[in-house]
Subunit: 321 residues, 2 copies
């Protein structure tokens, strides 16, 4: 996956997506002693950046493939995105989701007309379940991150950030995006480095699921210990993606690791200063800044708030922090 | 105030404002049986459309006027906007606010460096207090709505809505914006009618503060009875504006009146389906649609969600509806 793939993806998908705004809060800037530009992907169709990759992939299916349908495995946002795109394009969709995914994400995928298959996150292998359905029905598997078209679609977030920052007259010192399988940050890094080579790109991860931070440090794919728990339902993988990791190893300056309380404080700050509803995983880059995980004094930093699909009890808990 | 004033305002202010997105939710469309395009002015600088009018006015002050400063009287959003613009342009600001304004709005205006003067909404005359300060200091009064530059600035919301709807290939049957003094809806109507003459424009108001609905019906300015109470802190005037009312009487198809519970349900829907934090007054147009105040079956309607400055207790109360 190269920058020209991101550019081609953008031409393909731009009439289907929201060009989400790059927002700024004077209060937040004062609080952080930096200029912070906030890419509000929580306002993307289906409430997360995942729509970009899914629509880029599904628009390239053949007529026969569209008829056979698609299968996606996802902790939630990729499920919502794939089912939303499938509905829009009239493609049948089966979505394989962990049984402990947020109710908002399971219900939303069903409301989009998808057949939802639940699995146990600790015991079952979601990729095997997907392969079984695909084998039986002929449906095309739409992976959540290890796919060049998915990564290129997510990379359009980075392309827009650089364009929008330039329009504001801002020179970006750094860009931060959350990482689970690493598709978003791999795509963003590919675009940002092509357009603005001096800008540092960082991932952000929740404690207990910091495989990318450790893999970047060791130079090889490291796994998370089983049994970890995090409020960030969208950011829970075992190990870095096969296709995403080499890209991230090449481009990233590091991955910033935050706690659940850091995340709750960031959700509250996004609500208060930006009037955005952000889900836990989507708040990680802001959590990293508020927790002082990166020295940004006097700098200009863009952060991706990548999704807004959150159960109300979790959201209210964050507002009460 | 004519459409060319709105166009000139847009050229003047566009580098200072957020071009807020026109969002859409498949779930909300299905729920309402219509295509609903949501202008998210809650994402505007200082959290409300008011920034547009304030920056349009303040950019036209002379050097001597900038030095003498500005005075604004406001229930909150015009206070936040004027103080934010004044800080940005280095102009001293005094803001006259009701003592029962939301804490978020009083604190925010102070954080913007303004001198905040509180008054009693039931007893004091805010315009008299403003005139006294202006007389003593030479400061320029920045009225919240009865001013051609303020109305023209707010009208840029309507200009952007029509442009953004055209980009989506949507033909607008109606546009709805909340009304207090009527500056927003007067500006929006001026722009929308100039660009799309067949589009109906409606105001929205809270019960107890429905002076515009009654004034449009009678053809002359009607007043609200004293003592009414509404969750919509931003939409509480006694009678229609002197300059705004003739414009609204000329252009509007009516004003839709909603209850506090309608408003709370709309705040929850905006949170759930659009991931937006909207304040009570800003949710009125969505409340009108959800409460069935307008027959929109099969139509395309744009609504302005005009602000997002809400105290957390009020917001959580809406989420718990």
């Amino acid at each position: 996956m190269s920058f020209s793939d991101v550019q081609q993806a953008y031409e393909r998908i731009r009439s289907h997506i929201v060009r989400t705004p790059l927002l700024e809060s004077a209060t937040l800037n004062a609080l952080l002693g930096a200029r912070v530009l906030v890419k509000a992907e929580s306002l993307q169709n289906a409430g997360a950046f995942k729509f970009r990759g899914a629509v880029n992939r599904l628009l390239q299916l053949s007529a026969a493939q569209r008829q056979a349908g698609v299968v996606a495995f996802s902790s939630g946002n990729h499920a919502l995105a794939t089912s939303a795109v499938a509905r829009k394009l009239g493609i049948p969709a089966s979505i394989i989701m962990p049984s402990d995914a947020p109710k908002a994400k399971i219900d939303g995928s069903r409301a989009n007309g998808a057949t939802v298959v639940l699995y146990d996150r600790q015991k079952d292998d979601r990729e095997a379940i997907g392969a079984e359905i695909a084998g039986r029905t002929g449906a095309v598997i739409v992976p959540p991150y290890d796919d060049p078209d998915i990564m290129a679609g997510q990379g359009t977030v980075g392309l827009e950030i650089v364009e929008q920052a330039q329009a504001l007259g801002a020179k970006l010192d750094a860009v931060i995006a959350a990482s689970s399988g690493g598709g978003l940050v791999a795509g963003v890094a590919t675009a940002v480095k092509a357009l603005s080579a001096d800008t540092a790109v960082y991932a952000g991860e929740p404690a207990g699921f910091d495989e990318l931070a450790r893999s970047l440090a060791s130079g090889q794919p490291e796994s998370n210990a089983p049994g970890a728990v995090s409020i960030c339902d969208a950011l829970q993988v075992v190990k870095p993606g096969k296709l995403t990791f080499p890209i991230n190893l090449h481009y990233l300056s590091g991955s910033l690791v935050v706690t659940d309380d850091d995340v709750r404080r960031a959700m509250k700050a996004a609500y208060q200063h930006l009037r955005l509803v952000v889900e836990p995983g989507g708040a990680v880059p802001l959590a990293a800044l508020l927790a002082g995980k990166l020295d940004i004094a006097g700098k200009t930093v863009a952060i991706v708030l990548s999704g807004g699909n959150v159960d109300t009890s979790v959201f209210i808990e964050a507002l009460n922090v």
